[in-house]
Amino acid sequence: MTATVVRKRSALTKGQLPKFAPYIVLAVALVVAAAIMALIGFNAFGWGIVAAILFAVGLVSWSGAVEGARKAKDKLATCLVVGAFLIALLPLISVIVTVLINGIPGLITPGFLGTSMNGVTGAFDNKAAEEGAPVLGGIYHALMGTIQITLLATVISVPVGLLTSIYLVEYGNDRPLARAITFFVDVMTGIPSIVAGLFAAAFFFAIVGPGTKTGAVAAVALSVLMIPVVVRSSEEMLKIVPNELREASYALGVRKWRTITKVVIPTAISGIASGVTLAIARVIGETAPILVTAGFATTINNNVFGGWMASLPTFIYTQILNPTSPSNPGPSDQRAWGAALVLIILVMLLNLGARLIARMFAPKTGR
């Protein structure tokens, strides 16, 4: 009891790098990288890359010398995995920064949200670019178009998608038809958006007449993309409703369809609603299908069943690719980025909304 051996290091930590080793290597890597970059011309991006490579090489070789090859390999894998995550963050940050920097000037231009492109010609843009006149024109028509087309697509997709998921979960019982639907819904999620657009176009060309381009055609195209998403998410949500609740309802002498509409769906409603919101977020940014189905409009059109209709994504696309004034694309670029910012905000709000819905309508517990 008296002579306890006093040891500085436990036998279990022998042959290991000290805990602070990564920080030392990181500091050294940053300094050396800064020195290298100073020699060949400094930029922050290159500094980060060089430092990351130096850090990985340094840490792995130090570990190899002290801890042996197996630990060194483990460290290398850790560096690569963390590196992959950081690399994946780069485009996200870059896109958001780019859109913010380029989009804010457009967004804060007076009238940007409230006016359409009706009557805004290249002459105005030339004036804006050459004489500093305010950039005219806005996205009101595109915003309205996006809202109407998406709304109509939702009205089509939600009943079809929800009923299909009900069939799969409540009536399907693994029948061949249910299996076929499940398989083809999965396949449908992979239909390229432009093909969905072509389908809607070809369908209406055949039914109504060649060259039919309206908001409704675009809504049908978006529905083709939206339905499988709604089916999958609703199916998941219906599946997690405990069977006990269905049995409790049947045992009270409640019919199946009432059990589904009054017990199963209310229990799953938060998940279903959040899935639908996410599906809307997915299709609201679709460009290609609207491009081939609704045409381009520069004026406000509040009739989805007649005439060409603008939308935010196609507005961005055309403003970049075919600037209003070919000689001075600056004002068009500004409007495009402003619209992109609005679109991203819309999508993010929908994503956020989906999470809030999921939380708010979750079945209440607690006393």
């Binding site: 006990e244 609740l245 049995e247 409790a248 002498g253 019919r255 209440k364 006393r367």
Partner: protein, 259 residues
Amino acid sequence: MSKRIDVKDLNVYYGNFLAVEDVNINIQAKSVTAFIGPSGCGKSTFLRTLNRMHEVLPGARVEGEVLLDGDNLYGPGVDPVTVRTQVGMVFQRPNPFPTMSIRDNVLAGVKLNNKKISKGAADALVEKSLVGANLWNEVKDRLDKPGSGLSGGQQQRLCIARAIAVEPQVILMDEPCSALDPISTLAVEDLINELKDQYTVVIVTHNMQQAARVSDKTAFFNIAGTGKPGKLIEFADTTSIFNNPSQKATEDYVSGRFG
């Protein structure tokens, strides 16, 4: 407000698999009948055939007759929904509807069937059912709170209140206390004793003491081996099942020699 059940030559199948074979049993009105037996002997499956709840399970079907005061549950043109309004059921795990308040849970059978009911009648029904389930005093001040906020035993009694609010003739209980602690179990057992004044009660239980405590008659089910069908071995007064059973298998089971 209670009916007798007579079962004649009943076989239960899952697909082609015979799960319960050749059951004949006569259950008296206004009595408590307990089903006991080892796991997998088909007592829960058989219980479900008494209100056609087995049809919810894919592939399950029956042959034979179940007579509710002489009316065959499996007669042509019989709607399982009608059967279930007459024969209620309480499950192993308490399953109040999580989206509904305590009050709405009690009224679920009425509201889900879209029957019109005045507010006064609804209030009276809620109180009557909760009093009947020995729960009224505990929840009368929070009828608008969610039912899932109650304790396990309270939830189970809420489920019983929900079942009796439909005013059935028979109440089936599938191991109603297996998920409850001893005190809650006692509360539910007391309740079962009171229920038999008005209803025919059939209870499946793993707990032989419970069967001895609550039931008037006991049916012992057994299974010869895996893959063999379950059978009704003996059906008699509870006291005779536990004290002087006529079958060797029953005696082995109730004396704890197997199972």
